[in-house]
């Protein structure tokens, strides 16, 4: 008996060996985990180091205030305002495409579609993320740009009708309900409700047709413009937004849904008043991730945005070519003389730093929102 116990006990050297092994294992794993963090720090350090000479130069003011970008002319002009505006325009445009589509697709996937169908639809949407961006760019340049040039008006009018008709139909029914909800008499209420709905339908149909006709008459000069890349980038950002938002909608949990139904809420009320508010931090995180994807995308904008360093007139004109920060960096890095440390080389790093800072802020915001929401739920 005693002998057995002795065999189970570890000798001093074995204990030491185990301790060393444990420390070693921990160390290796820690350093692997730290590697990612160190890589990020190094990237920030090296970009900032090469951007610094530009921020110390006399070109700093014109960088943010002028829109004449002539990095190789004599004298050089580094006015990047138009490029910042281009990046902003394209990002906003793609957000306008991706957010309504992505969030409604996520809602549809998590709460509307039957489970059996969802299993097929979600992977299909996620395939969008597997298409290389150069393929998107090729499509935008070779297929989409000529389409916009030849029948851009028809395309926009059709898109408007397809998207706006159901939205306006639902809105007019809801409005008619809201307007007549105070009428006490049931019969009168029913009649006036129908009448209001028909009235709103006619008004909105006229509006729809008027806007569609206006859109149809537009002739697009150049198909490689902000609209083209906004739509393509919006589609590229979709899988990110759909999967993250859908996960957060799923995370809301069955009890909350059942509670809402038990209180007599309809499915629409449950969705709008219960589930969406409960999942809003996750949805916001999804949106920010998607927007950052659009902001950082390079290949598509380099191929299909036209790369004209100008602020469109008026500034929200999506039908003119624009140039983004990412495309400028990608397109001009080759000619910027690294060995002589030319100012053009440093200005590109300054742009990279601006992009990095913006994405960093986006990330911080989403992190902050998620954390705040978690605290609220916890309390």
């Amino acid at each position: 008996m005693e002998k057995q116990i002795n065999r189970l006990e570890l000798t001093a050297s074995q204990v030491l060996r185990n301790k060393i092994l444990e420390a070693l294992g921990n160390g290796v794993l820690f350093s692997i985990a730290a590697l990612a963090a160190i890589a990020v720090l190094f990237i920030i350090y090296f970009i900032a180091k090469d951007a610094l000479p530009f921020f110390q130069s006399k070109h700093l003011l014109e960088f943010f205030t002028s829109s004449s970008w002539y990095p190789t002319a004599e004298p050089v002009k580094f006015g990047a305002l138009a490029i910042f505006a281009g990046s902003a325009l394209v990002t906003i445009g793609s957000a306008l495409v991706a957010i309504p589509l992505g969030v409604s697709a996520a809602v549809c996937l998590s709460d509307v579609l039957p489970f059996s169908l969802r299993q097929y639809v979600k992977p299909v949407i996620e395939i969008l993320a597997a298409i290389p961006s150069v393929a998107y760019g090729f499509f935008a340049l070779v297929v989409f740009a000529p389409l916009l040039q030849n029948s851009g008006g028809t395309f926009m009018a059709t898109a408007w009708l397809v998207i706006a008709t159901p939205v306006i139909a639902i809105l007019s029914i809801v409005f008619a309900d809201l307007l007549t909800t105070n009428i006490k008499d049931a019969k009168l209420r029913k009649i006036s409700r129908t009448a209001t709905t028909i009235c709103l339908f006619i008004i909105s149909a006229l509006l729809l047709i008027f806007i569609a006709a206006t859109l149809k008459s537009i002739q697009i000069m150049s198909g490689t413009n902000a609209l083209n890349v906004s739509i393509i980038l919006g589609i590229m950002a979709l899988p990110t937004i759909v999967s993250v938002a859908e996960d957060s909608l799923q995370a809301v949990g069955r009890e909350i849904r059942e509670g809402s139904y038990a209180l007599g809420a309809t499915r629409a009320e449950t969705l709008v008043k219960t589930i969406l508010p409960a999942a809003k931090s996750g949805i916001l995180a999804a949106i920010l991730l998607g927007v950052m994807r659009a902001l950082g995308e390079t290949m598509v904008v380099w191929m299909a945005s036209g790369n004209a360093a100008q602020i469109p007139t008026p500034f929200y004109n999506f039908l003119e070519p624009v140039r983004t920060l990412t495309a400028t960096i990608a397109g001009e890095m080759g000619e910027a003389d690294q060995s002589t440390g030319s100012m053009q080389y440093h200005v590109l790093f300054a742009m990279g730093l601006c992009l990095l800072i913006f994405c960093f802020i986006c990330n911080l915001i989403s992190e902050w929102v998620v954390r705040k929401e978690r605290k609220k739920l916890g309390a």
Partner: protein, 282 residues
């Protein structure tokens, strides 16, 4: 005796092969436009003379000239002729630059095949690219706005166009005009052609090798772009590409053989493959 003789002979042979096998190096520096030609020549040359080691750097024509003046390279690749200043600096250091025109570089101005415009003058092209002319009717076309397409500023194609069209002399002073803000920049010759082929109101320019039926090349100053007009120098958007050596290279030296590759049939093939116009016509 015979044995000794053969041993000596063997020694001599071994010795001489050792001497010839001693690596000789040729250093080339300069233009990014000429760089591809120099690299292809170097590859070809080293396949024939494996004992020669050739390095090609692309630091720009100006740096190429500087290297030659400082004796840092044997051959300077340049997409322009040497400036007076550079000649002077060379003479002060006892260097005598000699130019060898190895190929011609030509650009075709292209429009959509549906465009009825018949041709341009160099001034009209400059006005279109600076934004002074914005409508096709001002150059004899329909009343439609012009979509201006340019290669990205990273490319040799852009550089050629910029130097030959956007740069002009006013009262003897060379003035560099700016391409207008609204011009679209495209990343490759093929993409320019693609954009022009699908855009009825577009204008662009590509290397001669990229012309095909999907676009229409127009005469500039009344001269159609082509091998003959570019090689003879009558077509206005063409320029010679140079290799500069220090003095005329000694006949039979590696430098001599290298800068005369362009005269051979293989040299012509290489130049054509890269998309430039060769000086010979076999």
């Amino acid at each position: 005796m015979k044995k000794i003789l053969s041993a000596v002979a063997a020694l001599v042979i071994v010795g001489s092969t050792v001497v010839t096998a001693a690596e000789e190096t040729l250093v080339l520096d300069g233009s990014t436009t000429v760089g591809p030609i120099a690299k292809a020549f170097a590859e070809y040359y080293m396949s024939i003379y494996p004992e020669v080691n050739i390095t090609v750097s692309e630091s720009g024509s100006g740096n190429g000239a500087k290297s030659l003046v400082n004796s840092d390279c044997d051959i300077a690749n340049m997409s322009r002729f040497m400036k007076e200043k550079e000649f002077k600096a060379a003479a002060e250091k006892g260097i005598m630059p000699v130019a060898h025109v190895v190929a011609m570089d030509g650009l075709a101005v292209i429009v959509n095949p549906a465009n009825p415009v018949k041709g341009f003058t160099v001034e009209q092209l400059r006005d279109i690219y600076t934004g002074k002319v914005t409508n096709w009717k001002e150059v004899g076309g329909p009343d439609k706005a012009i979509v201006v397409i340019s290669r990205d500023t990273n490319s040799g194609t852009y550089e050629t166009f910029y130097n030959l069209i956007m740069t002009h002399k006013i009262d003897g002073e060379s003035v560099k005009e700016k391409i207008k803000d609204g011009a679209e920049y495209v990343g490759s010759n093929g993409a320019v052609r693609q954009r022009v082929a699908t855009t009825p109101t577009a204008i662009g320019y590509v290397g001669l090798g990229y012309l095909d039926r999907s676009v229409k090349a127009l005469p500039v100053n009344g001269i159609m772009p082509g091998k003959e007009t570019v090689a003879s120098g009558t077509y206005p958007i063409a320029r010679p590409l140079y290799m500069f050596t220090n003095g005329y290279p000694k006949l039979g030296s590696h430098t001599f053989r290298f800068v005369t590759i362009y005269l051979s049939e293989k040299g012509q093939e290489i130049v054509e493959d890269i998309g430039f116009i060769p000086m010979t016509n076999y």
